[in-house]
């Protein structure tokens, strides 16, 4: 019963199905919702669909004067560079493993934080905590990299100085590739947990309070309420966020990696992702066609992964699939 009521909150149920379905009727019925969607639709149309024909640049030898469609067609030539580099396996491995860590930890920890926040009664404390957690999200990757450098650099870093004060030996992080998966994931979480927490917290506050009160009346304790009410209600949000994230699993967070690692090639073995490699290889000759070819490759792979993941979700729990 509780699950059913939770599903009633799902806006997708507002679209009527069955033989009596009529588009006009549906539009009229949901006009407010559709109106609210228009800015997003316009945004995606302008910035995602309208430029799509430009992907043709990946198949051309781009000439500035002739434009994208006037430039000579060269077929798959621009895709060759990534596949002949001998680095693709390493790059894919790094990119995908980092993203898996980001997706799993980046959803699990905010979920946990949101549940914990929800249990806090003092609203001022909740608000302050949320704001402090949210703050790092707005700091640019450039500043984050400076912060990290000034914390952990060997000669003059803040932590290095403290360690030395206590007679310890500071590890040379900027020469140790093995340390960076942990540092990068930690920095990512520090920046993003606050944002994710707000999303999950919003989903929790959307849960019908009468369910939680009914559970209290029935004698459910805090853990039981989380286990049987809150978590099941958050399942659809979690699945949708995960599915969205899957689409970008072969796309790296360029800003974070590029700024944290920079040109320090000692660390490339564990930190080089597709974006940073492409940037390094193409930054000197500004080959927009090859850059676009890599982008297109990532998008196509991402699209296939979303289709597969959505198919799996659909088979297990059809209500949670995207389409």
């Amino acid at each position: 019963m509780l699950q059913k009521r939770a599903l009633m909150n799902d806006t997708r149920l507002l679209v009527p199905t069955g033989s009596g379905y009529s588009l006009r009727k549906s539009l009229r019925q949901n006009r407010t919702l559709i109106l609210m969607c228009i800015p997003a639709i316009v945004f995606f149309f302008l910035f995602c669909y309208l430029p799509m024909p430009g992907a043709y640049i990946a198949f051309t030898k781009f000439n500035y004067n002739k434009g994208i469609f006037g430039s000579p067609f060269v077929g798959w030539k621009n895709f060759a560079f990534l596949f002949t580099s001998g680095q693709l396996t390493l790059l894919l491995r790094n990119t995908v493993l980092y993203n898996i860590a980001f997706i799993l930890l980046g959803n699990f920890i905010p979920l946990l934080c949101a549940i914990l926040l929800n249990e806090i009664q003092a609203s001022w404390f909740r608000k302050v905590t949320q704001s402090i957690m949210f703050l790092p999200y707005f700091i640019s990757a450039v500043l984050v990299s400076l912060l990290v450098y000034n914390m952990i650099n060997y000669d003059y870093g803040f932590i290095s100085n403290i360690v030395r004060q206590f007679g310890g030996a500071m590890p040379k992080y900027y020469s140790q590739p093995g340390a960076w998966p942990f540092i990068i994931v930690l920095v990512y979480l520090w920046q993003n947990v606050g944002y994710g927490t707000v999303i999950y917290f919003a989903a929790i506050t959307n849960i019908d309070t009468s369910m939680i009160e009914a559970a209290k009346v029935d004698g459910a304790n805090g853990f039981q309420r989380i286990r049987y009410i809150i978590l099941p209600c958050l399942k659809s949000t979690l699945v949708i966020l995960l599915l969205f994230a899957m689409g970008n699993i072969v796309k790296g967070n360029f800003g974070l990696f590029y700024n944290l690692v920079g040109g320090n090639s000692l660390l490339f073995g564990t930190t080089d992702i597709i974006e940073t490699y492409v940037y390094r290889a193409l930054m000197n000759n500004f080959n927009f066609s090859q850059g676009s070819a890599v982008g297109l490759f990532q998008s196509v792979v991402g699209f296939v992964i979303v289709l597969v993941a959505n198919g799996i979700v659909k088979r297990i729990e059809p209500d949670y699939s995207l389409f």
């Binding site: 500035y64 580099s85 450098y149 650099n153 320090n264 000759n285 500004f286």
Partner: protein, 519 residues
């Protein structure tokens, strides 16, 4: 109605007031003689793409005066589109790629601003001789035929070279001369001297980092490796590639490619020396991620050396001396040991006209005036006379007492695309004695850039070049700052990676293109 008449009268009076001013400007020099028969009846606004940060000083005031003069002379005015220094390479190339007719004039260069790759990608307008003779007559006459030939791609002229301006941008180390003297050195003249100097600073000045290199993203590796190569093997850098792997073998044999990166001990020696410098602590441990301002640090006495070029030394010697009297900043130039020095390519600075420009003729006319007319030239290069500069009794360009800081009182056009020694004023704030002494040494050994007639085409080897670029950017900084555990093994690994990335094919293609022109 009365209001309308009053405003008309006012406009008339104002217009009358302008007449003498316009007459005065136009009378000073009759610019119609520069461009006989050219129709300038339509007013045009020209956009000029220039690298540099947006000025916060008096540039707008000077630009207003410049535009007033340009309007009077050729009925045109200029607005500048600045490509700021943060990520300038990306922004510059993107601005060229997005040509929509809004840009007319482009400051460019074949060595540091990708002029030839951009020419090949269709960014610039081919200029005919007739066009240059008509709209850029003074410049056309002043540039020799030989120099015009070096500005051609597939038979057409694409660049106007800055070929009458003596400057040296060869790299080396600026170092504190006072410390070098204390270390018992009579100037620094070799990499080995440099090591002695660093060790002296390390031992005697614990608060000074011998060379606090900002090695993040390290472009130092290009100069350091190239500098070692020219010092130890006499090799000559060949411009026009996305990655500095191609050098002529020596001044005696410039048309055979150097194999420095592929075999021999020179690279291994460099890697080993840099490893020892790194372990001795001549730069900070995390140098590859450090982004400080070494130039400013040197002025504050926090570091004893800076790796840059002669032109920087020319100005910094004076600036540092002012702040640290007795600092006596010297310059060790790469190539000194083998006496290898190549004159600056004439297209180290050049002007191109945008392929999509709506007013290429007027753009050429404006450039011709700025490059060749003393009034325009001084305004753009030095500022407003009396306000930014004056000519002192010795004929030097001096700054008034009110001129304290270039970023506040100065004028910044970054006109690096057509400076002209015929109109240059010598600055009063340069140690000319030291500079002239150094350039006399340069003049004695310099050779002309030997590859000016080839515009290299990398279409056939683009995949190899991209992969080589990545290999170089991966290995070179580690070698340059001595960060490999075992430098000898690391060089071997680097060489294998270059082979795997296709250096043999790339070198064969470059060699064939050189042979086609010179052999």
């Amino acid at each position: 109605m009365a209001k309308k008449i009053a405003s008309l009268l006012l406009a008339f009076v104002l217009a009358l007031g302008l007449v003498p001013a316009m007459a005065e400007t136009a009378d000073a020099v009759d610019y119609t003689q520069w461009f006989p028969g050219v129709d300038t009846s339509e007013h045009v606004v020209l956009t000029w793409l220039v690298t540099g940060n947006i000025p916060t000083n008096q540039t707008n005031e000077a630009l207003a005066i410049l535009n007033e003069k340009l309007t009077a002379a050729i009925n045109a005015e200029i607005q500048i589109e600045w490509i700021e220094w943060t990520d300038w390479q990306t922004k510059y190339n993107l601005a060229l790629a997005m040509q929509d007719g809004t840009v007319d004039m482009i400051g460019t260069a074949t060595d540091w601003l990708d002029a030839w790759p951009n020419t090949q990608k269709g960014a610039f307008l081919p200029m005919s001789v007739e066009m240059l003779q008509t709209y850029c007559p003074q410049t056309y006459a002043s540039v020799s035929q030989e120099h015009w030939d070096l500005c051609k791609y597939e038979g057409d002229i694409y660049l106007i070279p800055e070929d009458n301006y003596a400057q040296w941008t060869n790299h080396g180390f600026l170092y504190r001369g006072d410390y070098a003297a204390e270390a018992g050195l009579d100037g620094i003249h070799s990499w080995e001297d440099m090591g002695v100097f660093f060790q002296y600073v390390k031992d005697n000045y614990p608060d000074v980092i011998p060379w606090d290199a900002d090695g993040s993203g390290s472009s130092y590796s290009d100069q350091m490796l190239g500098g070692w190569l020219s010092s130890k093997t006499g090799g000559i850098n060949i411009e026009g590639f996305s990655v500095p792997l191609f050098f002529g073998a020596s001044t005696a044999d410039p048309y055979t490619l150097s194999t420095f990166f592929l075999e021999g001990d020179a690279l291994v020696d460099f890697a080993t020396l840099m490893k020892s410098w790194s372990e001795a602590g001549y730069w900070r441990e995390d140098v590859l991620n450090y982004t400080g301002d070494v130039k400013a640090e040197m002025k504050e006495g926090l570091t004893a050396a800076n790796q840059h070029h002669t032109q920087t030394w020319k100005t910094e010697r004076y600036n540092i001396e002012k702040l640290i009297p007795g600092s006596d900043v010297g310059f060790f130039w790469f190539g000194e040991e083998s006496q290898t020095l190549v004159s600056l390519n004439i297209t180290h600075g050049a002007l191109a006209i945008a392929a999509q420009s709506d007013a290429p003729e007027r753009a050429l006319m404006a450039y011709d005036l700025i490059r060749n007319d003393p009034t325009f030239y001084r305004l753009v290069n030095y500022g407003m006379e009396g306000q930014q500069y004056y000519v002192d009794e010795n004929g030097f360009m001096a700054r008034p007492d009110t001129y304290l800081d270039e970023s506040v009182q100065g004028v910044t056009f970054n006109f690096w695309w057509g400076r002209n020694d015929n109109l240059e004023l010598r600055s009063a704030v340069v140690d000319w004695e030291a500079y002239d002494a150094l350039t006399a040494v340069y003049d004695a050994v310099k050779i002309d850039y030997p590859y000016g007639q080839v515009v290299f085409n990398t279409d056939e080897i683009s995949v190899e070049m991209d992969n080589l670029s990545n290999v170089f950017r991966t290995y070179a900084p580690v070698i340059c700052f001595g960060k490999a555990e075992d430098p000898v093994a690391y060089v071997a690994e680097f060489r294998q990676a270059l082979k795997d990335a296709g250096i043999d094919a790339a070198m064969a293609s470059v060699q064939a293109q050189i042979d086609a022109v010179y052999k």
